[in-house]
């Protein structure tokens, strides 16, 4: 165990990454609903308010499966991918299936 992990235990900061998990949950909602914002009135303008490197940070860490058809996109959220696929998908992995 490295000193970083030791300090985490010693100070009861269980998971600084929990903050990022929260951000990921919001990011997932926004990425999903962006498909329904067909006139780009809500989500795209909101995304422009945040620094691109923060957005990239979330993008790299949010895992989801998206099935794209002509009519709509179907998303499988990060909350359930563990149950469906065990450890097959890493948190930052996106799978895009076109049909």
């Amino acid at each position: 165990m490295c000193e970083f992990e030791c300090a985490q235990r010693r100070t009861d900061v269980e998971k600084p990454d929990l903050c990022i998990e929260e951000g990921i949950a919001f990011y997932f909602v926004m990425v999903h609903i962006k498909h329904y914002d067909r006139r780009n009135l809500y989500i795209q303008p909101a995304f422009e308010l945040i620094s691109p490197h923060i957005l990239q940070h979330y993008h790299e860490r949010t895992g989801y499966i998206e099935i794209v058809s002509a009519a709509m996109s179907i998303f499988f959220p990060p909350f359930s991918y563990h149950n469906m696929f065990g450890n097959a998908f890493s948190p930052g992995m996106h799978v895009r299936l076109l049909c």
Binding site: E3, A7, E22, G23, A25, F26, M30, H32, L41, A46
Partner: protein, 197 residues
Amino acid sequence: MLHIQRFNARSYNFLSNVVNYLATIEPELANAIMKKDWELVDGAFRGFLMISDAMAGPNRENQKVIADTGIFDLCDRILARIRYEPVTPTDDQAEVWLANDYRQKIKTAVARTLSGFLEGVSSDELPNQMLALLNWNGLIDQMRECYTTWEVYKEVVCRLAYFACMNVDGRTHKHCTCGCAVCTCIAQDASNMHVSN
């Protein structure tokens, strides 16, 4: 079943009751965290999880009923009111960190509830309702705040790791290798000291 009990003479809408309960305690929530009233905070947390579970499946009927209870305004208000308290690298900050843990729990439950509305979406109706009623700039604020808090947490933990090493190892200057700015700086300090020795 949570909003209509078909075999009862009179039905009770538990979903709307839960949202009403959450709306009632919402103004007190931020104070409750400050006063360490964890029972109330847990109540809110469990309320949101119940709503989120009620929509799982997806249960489209429940999704529609909950969407009409004014929950989007409630989510906006909670996200606007509950903010992380700044953390600094001192030993007496454990209580602040605990309070921040509770803040994080509630806000993640809110995010999970919002995500529940999008489960198995089959028409534009619910997403459009969400798009029109939720404050998206508020969600962006949350994402920004989460990122900033994460950076601060990481820095604080790295600094603590550094001082812990200083105490244990004296001049050895072991450092963690997570690659953040603090660790890199510590690593450079250590190598400079090694060269000067």
